[in-house]
């Protein structure tokens, strides 16, 4: 809630203008009965048609003013809520781009997306809709009651009593309702979790004949949700009729207390009754926005979490911008993912000359990807230092560092747009020829040319219309086009068949020999890394061997074991 208020404060002028017009709108509604009272007391009682018409004209004028107020309120309020929504989205998006992967892992990508989209919308709707009710309702109540008292000052104690009782009822309603609606929201999350789990494991469920078990689990979540729903709505069921009753009692008391002293003021009595119905309507709205308030509060909490996430990486005070040749040094580097007690890398040291191809092998979870992610500073080492050309990566301008590095991730990530646009991510100013050359080296030219639109083929979100192998080859071409000094290939040929993989690797070797770029080549397959200049062999985050294939076969038992398991004679103990 604090975030919502803060954001509104950022648009004070617009917001208060909107509120000002809201007050005009409310005031116009409130003035109608007052003049109606005059119509009756002065016009009807004196049989003065002229007066009746005169007051009618005044009422018409007030209605028009109210209409103008409402239209302007609508303009300003809509503009305010949408602008706040836009700014929140932009701030969140900008923040997410700035965050390091440590932050992103913690917040979880799918949750980040919902926060930027759904949660912001919830807040926006709340600002536009519910705030109006929250402000208009009290204004109407207080105004109406003040006017009743103005008409018949003797009613003051009764009105005050009614106001107090309804305020108490509303407070109690909120007090009891809020936690119940909050619990309902939690139960809804649980229901969603259970459904998601079922849907994503449906194959296992069927293979093990476990449909009934899943049904019980789902039933428990659905029942929990239903119970919470009943509990929450019952609070409203108790309080909203009570609030109605209180205001209706007010009408009775008004009529009851009218006596001879008020003679000739029957119109005012009528006006008071009308005011009470206005109060009734306004109070009805307030107790009903509870659910929205709960959701908006939850949403704003989730949004705030991103905005207040402290970036895990510090910027260097005076970042260096050297010309990078491509030497990589790891000095006693250790690393652990946040929230995990296990170290992902432990005391790793090695040195790669510029232009060298370093193979990295080791089982899943041994720290291969973690290791290469430290080079472009996706994560910061916990201790020790990662150096490129002798400069610490943390001291360099990130653009300079990353500008010299090309990464081909395990999962080929392409973006909405044409194939050409995707490739030009590597180098926006590349010529048509060099783009095609890069595609050719990655063995992507043939299939691209086979598309009717060639390089202008539009890819759907995430490149959905391509096969896994095609995406991998485009992702490699994009990296080649970048003409990097350091190329990181993270097991990026897994979807290619053996002969295409061999051709792609030949292409890459040609590039590296020609341009002298350093290559970090991760693979699960020993046959892929065997031909690298030197090979890092990792297990459980520890460096078990570093050397040529022949050296490792001689000195490194784990490397031998991998070789044995994938290629060798493979006798089991």
């Amino acid at each position: 809630m604090k975030l919502i208020i803060d954001r509104i404060a950022g648009h004070k002028k617009m917001f208060f203008t909107a509120m000002f017009f809201l007050l005009i709108e409310t005031f116009a509604d409130l003035m109608q009965p007052t003049f109606m009272a005059r119509v009756v007391d002065e016009g009807v009682k004196n049989k003065d048609v002229g007066r009746i018409i005169l007051y009618g004209a005044v009422m018409l004028g007030i209605a028009a003013a109210g209409a103008a107020g409402a239209v302007l309120r609508n303009l300003f309020a809509s503009r305010t809520s949408q602008t706040i929504g836009k700014e929140l989205r932009a701030d969140l998006y900008g923040k997410v781009l700035e965050l390091s992967f440590e932050n992103i892992d913690r917040l979880q990508p799918s949750s980040i997306v919902t926060r930027i989209t759904n949660d912001v919308t919830q807040m926006q709707n709340f600002i536009n809709g519910s705030m109006r009710i929250m402000l208009k309702a009290p204004a109407t109540c207080i105004g109406a009651i003040a006017l009743i008292i103005a008409q018949t000052p003797r009613q003051f104690p009764v009105m005050a009593a009614i106001l107090c009782v309804s305020a108490a009822l509303i407070a109690a309603n909120m007090r009891l309702g809020y936690p119940r609606f909050a619990r309902l929201q939690k139960r809804l999350d649980r229901l969603n979790d259970v459904s998601r789990e079922f849907l994503s494991s449906v194959r296992v469920v069927k293979a093990f004949n476990a449909e009934e078990k899943e049904e019980h689990k789902f039933a428990a979540a659905a029942e929990g949700f239903a119970d919470a729903g009943i509990a929450a709505t019952r609070v409203l069921a108790v309080f909203s009729p009570l609030i109605n009753l209180t205001v209706n009692m007010g009408i009775i008391v008004l009529l009851w207390l009218y006596d001879a002293r008020d003679a000739g003021r029957i119109g005012r009595l009528m006006a008071s009754v009308n005011y009470m119905t206005q109060v009734l309507f306004a109070l009805g709205m307030v107790s009903n926005i509870l659910n929205n308030a709960v959701r908006a509060a939850a949403s704003s909490e989730r949004v705030r979490e991103i905005l207040e996430e402290a970036p895990a990486q510090k910027k260097a005070a005076s970042p260096l911008k050297p010309d990078i040749r491509g030497e990589i040094t790891f000095k006693n580097v250790s690393f652990a993912y946040a929230g995990s007690s296990k170290t992902a890398l432990e005391n790793i040291s090695f040195f790669a000359r510029a232009g060298e191809t370093i193979g990295i092998i080791g089982p899943t979870g041994s720290g291969k990807t973690t290791l290469v992610n430290l080079v472009p500073r996706f994560y910061d080492a916990a201790s020790g230092s990662v150096l490129v050309d002798g400069f610490g990566v943390n001291d360099m301008e990130p653009e300079t560092l990353r500008g010299a590095i090309a990464v081909v991730p395990q999962k080929a990530l392409l973006f909405t747009g044409t194939i050409r646009e995707n490739l030009l991510w590597g180098d926006g100013g590349a010529s048509e020829e060099s783009m095609r050359a890069a595609a050719r080296l990655a063995c992507a030219d043939e299939f691209v040319d086979s598309f009717p639109d060639g390089y202008d083929t539009v890819l759907g979100q995430g490149g959905v219309n391509l096969s896994g192998g095609q995406k991998q080859r485009l992702s490699i071409a994009r990296a080649i086009l970048r003409k990097p000094k350091i190329m990181i290939l993270d097991d990026c040929t897994s979807a290619l068949d053996a002969s295409t993989e061999a051709a792609v690797l030949r292409g890459l070797r040609a590039v590296s020999e020609h341009s002298g770029m350093t290559v970090l080549l991760i693979s699960q397959r020993i046959s892929t890394v065997m031909r690298a200049d030197r090979i890092l062999c990792l297990e459980d985050g520890r460096l078990l061997g570093f050397g040529t294939h022949a050296e490792l076969m001689r000195d490194c038992p784990v490397y031998q074991a991998i070789y044995e398991s994938q290629i060798g004679g493979g006798k089991l103990g």
Partner: protein, 610 residues
Amino acid sequence: MDSSRFAPPPDRHFGRPGGGMGGMGLQRGQPGERPKNMKGTLLRLWRLTEGHRKGLGWIMLLSVLASASSVLSPLIIGRAINAIDSGGYALKIILLMLAIYLGDWLVRFMQQFSMASISQKIILHIRMALFSAMKKLPLAFFDRRQHGELMSRLTNDVDNISSTISDSLSQLLVFTFTILGILGIMLFLSPALTCVALAMVILIFILTKAVTKRTGRLFKAQQAALGRLNGQIEESVSGLSVVKAFCREGEMLKQFEEKNRELCEVATRALIVSGFLMPITNVINNLGYMSIAVVSGIMAAEGLISVGLISSFLLYSRQFSRPFVEIANIYNNFQTAVAGAERIFEILDEAPEPEDGPDALPLEAPRGRIEFENVSFGYSKGKPVLEGFSLSVPEGTRVAIVGPTGAGKTTIINLLTRFYDVDSGRILLDGRDLREYRLRDLRRAFGAVLQDASLFDASVRENIAYGRQDAPFEQVRAAAATAGADSFIRRLPDGYDTVLSQGGAALSQGERQLLTIARAVLVDAPILILDEATSSVDTMTERRIRLAMLEMTKGRTSFIIAHRLSTIRDSDLIVFIRDGRIAEKGSHDELMELNGLYAEMYKTQSGMGE
């Protein structure tokens, strides 16, 4: 994006709990989806309320009673005013009012109180019906659809249906009753003033129509802009590493701001136009109030009507227009809910996995002889994955299925377990077609270790016992020991009672695999299916997995989709599949001798040749 279905308008369904996952929310005047077959769907919905009809009838009755008080009270207030105005004592009328208000309180309380539980019970009923239908659907159904979309049917659509339909139904009833009641009383009191009130309603009606006509287009444009923006958000979050690696943050931000601005513009316009409805209604209400005050004032001044009647009419004029304004919106929501109901019925109507016929055979102790006879199969028409596939596997054979990605290896497993049924040809188990056996028995005959090591948010013990929930702890432990998982499980903080979260995210890939193997071991099935994970695990674990696999496949027919050369060499029969056909089959030595595709693959992978 999950929220392709949108939650109900947050602004309008005040007293309603939950309401789905919170999408963009329909706004006032936003056109709802149109149902395809309103009448048929409603009829089916009615059938779903079986067992709750008495409760629903009770709620309807209470709603009508509650609206009776709002119809009557202005009339009585008018009477009271008249009595007071003529200097009389209004005690009797005031007591009557007191009675009406207390009655109103009681009726409203009962109505809302019972509504809370009845509508939740109907929701629960529909939701469970939906889930029960879903769990019986064949795998093809789940493979074809996005999970997010199915999820929103289980949550949003169900909530929408029951609450909107029971809300709207009672509201429609109340409004019809209110309108007719008020109209009757007004006509009885003064036909002339009734005309004034009616004129206002007609005016509101016309203007509302004019506004909604314009908003339809704007809301569509808003949805489109929103879709584009959400697309970019998703894409850049999931591809963030590439965005950062290529230093594209600035470019992405620029694109985002453009789309964000577009959305803001069109959304503001839509909101403003639709937001006109409220002020317009309000103005006309005030206009009506004023007209009635003036006309009735003049009439009263002429002595045609009493002062109390003015009061009654003023109160009625406010109440009269509201149902007219609301009805259009209710109808809109109603349509959205019915469209949601249609999506639910669509699932209920999907053909479930075929029920076992009356003569389906039990399968007690299968021996495990498997034959594929000329099997053809494709996931979609005209795109066969397997073609003329024939293979005979004697019982107790260890079969390795090898071949490039997309060759149809997983399909063989899908057909064996009858996740899918063959298009032509047949698969025999112990000499009989798979389809002749009871499905549950058939599935029990297979122990499966599937590639996606799906674990559940439950304790380690429950996860291992997933296929045999009644298994005593010693057996669970023995299965874990066979799978080589016992030692690491005992090192977990709570041992076998350690609760896994997020599908076992805290475990390593290898540990997860060992658990899924233990799960299959415990089932003790005569035939095994192992989809070897493409990624390797650390050498110790890998050795363990290999030993566990050898141990559990001993004497059992087993199908292994193999990636490691070591696993492949461990098998009795290697089947090399390419383009949905068997290219080569035989033992390792035979195939090496043949010097064909298998030999080439083996050599490339083992680095024996270029």
